[in-house]
């Protein structure tokens, strides 16, 4: 097991909800509400979950684009949870974010050269053969042509624009890249190009990724480990193989069974778990287990006691009183306790 590059403990982000002229706080959106995980050097951690469960907020917290309400973020051994903007500056080189929308995240009035070269200028980085050469090298790395240097974003297709975004991210040789829905705005035929590129770059540059996506197939393909979020909480965290083969949390089971499979043979035979209702509002999440309003296994205890995230099999953490596919008691790691 390799060492942790980033570790997060009890992380919280509550956005105040205000009312009236005086901006009286009437409540809070508990976008991220006490999550703990680590990201190991060289791995890809996938984060999945439905709209509004706090994936993007988590990404913005660990890149410190926003400050947490509570909990701790440690990057390479340093607590960065409440670091000032000035002190964060070197961190901005090491930790980068790729955004979902390749259209709006590039300034239309700047050339590709200016966009990809900006991080050098902002950070005042010295380059061996000048910024232009460095930028052209990066463009080549992401599969763009060095001649694209003087062109503008609108002259590129969606996939190419996402490459420009990735090139900009790579400029300062970051250690950790948080990619928020890197392919969801792209055409199906282009998504694979970008997924392959991310994988190649990881191998070549020894990058660590956190990939946020709602597409469970893409996340499985690209991740070593996967965290499943529901309403601001991590409900399951495991190796990719374990999570997809033997999901333990009822929500993960429902999520996986809901994915439509492109196969006409299988459509009658597949067993489906159909959840009732929509995801509740994070303004007013259900008490105790937040999934209990939609869970077919819910019992009285689920409404009273919040199930903690515990390791039920090696490297497989779950927050549920009645997990599926749970190993027999003797097989569980010693520290798991008697939750199952």
């Amino acid at each position: 097991m390799s060492e942790a590059l980033l570790s997060v403990d009890g992380l919280q982000k509550h956005f105040p909800v205000t009312k009236g002229l005086l901006k009286r706080q009437v409540g809070a959106v508990k976008a991220v509400d006490g999550i703990s995980f680590e990201v190991r050097k060289g791995e890809t951690l996938g984060v999945v979950g439905e709209s509004g469960c706090g994936k993007t907020t988590t990404g913005r917290l660990i890149t410190r684009l926003i400050e947490p309400t509570g909990g701790k973020i440690v990057f390479e051994g340093r607590d960065i949870s409440h670091m000032s903007q000035g002190k964060l500056r070197p961190l901005r080189r090491d930790v980068q974010m790729i955004f979902q929308d390749p259209y709006s995240s590039l300034n239309p009035r700047h050339t590709v050269g200016a966009i990809v070269g900006a991080p050098f200028r902002i950070q005042g980085v010295q380059t061996e053969h000048g910024v232009k050469r460095a930028v052209q090298d990066i463009l080549a790395l992401v599969g763009l042509n060095p001649e694209h240097y003087n062109r503008y974003p609108h002259e590129f297709s969606g996939g190419q624009r996402q490459r420009i975004g990735i090139a900009r991210t790579l400029a300062l040789k970051p250690k950790l890249i948080v990619a928020d829905e890197p392919v969801s705005a792209l055409d199906v035929s282009i998504q694979a190009q970008v997924v392959n590129l991310l994988e190649d770059l990881q191998n070549e540059l020894d990058l660590t990724y956190v990939v946020i996506a709602h597409d469970l197939s893409v996340v499985r393909h690209i991740s070593d480990r996967v965290a499943v979020m529901y309403l601001g909480k991590i409900v399951e965290l495991a190796d990719q193989k374990d999570l997809y083969k033997s999901p333990m949390h009822p929500y993960t089971n429902a999520l996986l069974s809901a994915v439509p499979i492109p196969d006409v043979k299988g459509r009658q035979g597949r067993e489906r778990i159909r959840l009732q209702g929509d995801v509740p509002s994070p303004l007013n999440p259900p008490p105790a287990c937040r999934f209990h309003t939609r869970c077919w296994k819910a019992q009285e205890i689920c409404k009273q006691v919040e199930p903690p995230l515990v390791e039920l099999a090696t490297g497989h953490e779950v927050a549920c009183h009645f997990p599926e596919n749970a190993p027999a008691k003797g097989d569980a790691p010693a520290e798991a306790g008697a939750t199952a």
Partner: protein, 345 residues
């Protein structure tokens, strides 16, 4: 196949004159559909899927679009029909579910009132009767406590509820043809699954003809009897679900299947992307529109670059637009494509 089809689209062309040139959004498209059946339309972004569906509803009429070809719906031709007549068919004869329900419902009227209005366009009944009908409909699409929710405004509904209300509105007049353009794209997977179930049930109960347009091959595989694959304004492959998923014959369809990681298979080491980017519809590539991106173009001895291939029957109604011979395509699928897709099965 010579019988009259419930919906029969023949050589449809929808072109838009623009400052940059003529955009051939739909360029010689033909397909047909019966009651009780579902047609899935997939394809590259910008390939003309939405323009086709808007064309069927007559929503390009009176604009600057140039439309030719024929659209036969239950024995009536719609391209040559007057706008007023086509308008009178909307709601009862044909209806549409749009991708973004918020922009297609009026923000200032309650959800219930909008459904009542839609119903009263085609039914001379009192408000009370229509209201009861609307509440029934909201109940059918799974809106909890429909009497109470009747007076809610669209923004007070969640995304999934709005999509359901939109479906209720589209179905309130029991339309014979329902077109759903990306009906679940904006929704979460668990809600998407509910909506797909709902559409399947309602279609069965009402015996409607359903066209579902999506970029999600999984959704198409689940719902469709027939599938139309579009590229650059044209059909490039058209067949049954089994034709498209089990014996696809067009290089673009192979590309789509190879680009997608799938949950029902072992994750392969590498995805097999389609190179290049989608074509311009103004300067459509010469010959086969897919040729700049096609790995098999060299095997057509230059024809791919120079001649537009025809959509030709391969076998049993399975149509393919490609210069490769049927035997060549089948051999490539069996020996070069399928083994890669299933590499780790």
């Amino acid at each position: 196949m010579t019988d009259e089809h419930f919906l029969d689209v023949k050589d449809l062309r929808i072109h838009f004159p623009t400052d940059d040139g003529l955009v051939k959004s739909v360029d010689g498209l033909s397909f047909h559909l019966e009651r009780g059946k579902t047609l899935g339309i997939v394809g590259e972004s910008g390939s003309g899927k939405s323009v086709t569906s808007l064309g069927i509803l007559g929503l390009h009429k009176g604009g600057h679009a140039k439309i030719s070809g024929e659209i036969w719906l239950d024995g009536e031709e719609l391209v040559s029909a007057s706008l007023d007549h086509v308008r009178s068919l909307r709601g009862k004869k044909m209806a549409m579910i749009f991708q973004d329900p918020l922009s297609s419902m009026h923000p200032y009227y309650s959800v219930g009132d909008q459904i009542v209005e839609a119903y009263r366009v085609h039914n001379k009944v009192t408000k009370q009767v229509a209201r009861k009908h609307a509440i029934d409909m909201l109940d059918r699409v799974g809106i909890p406590q429909p009497e109470r929710r009747f007076d809610s405004y669209p923004h007070e509904f969640s995304g999934g509820m709005r999509q359901r209300a939109m479906i209720a509105m589209a179905l309130v007049n029991n339309p014979d043809l329902l077109i759903a353009d990306e009906p679940t794209t904006a929704l979460d997977v668990t809600v998407q699954a509910q909506i797909l179930d709902l559409m399947r049930d309602l279609q069965r109960d009402f015996n409607a003809a359903l066209i579902i347009i999506t970029h999600d091959l999984g959704v198409v595989a689940e719902l469709s009897d027939d599938i139309l694959v579009m590229y650059g304004g044209k059909a490039i492959e058209y067949g049954t679900g089994a034709d498209i998923f089990e014996r696809p014959e067009h290089p673009y369809t192979w590309g789509l299947l190879g680009s997608m990681p799938r949950l029902d298979r072992e994750p392969t080491e590498r995805l097999l992307p389609i190179k290049g980017s989608p074509p311009s519809l103004i300067n459509v590539p010469s010959g086969c529109a897919f040729h700049p991106r096609c790995a098999f173009e060299p095997r057509t001895h230059g024809k791919g670059k120079s001649e537009v291939p025809e959509l030709i029957e391969s076998e049993g109604g399975h149509l393919v637009r490609c210069h490769l011979t049927r035997d060549e395509r089948r051999a490539i699928w069996e020996t070069e494509i399928k083994p890669n897709l299933e590499a780790t099965l």
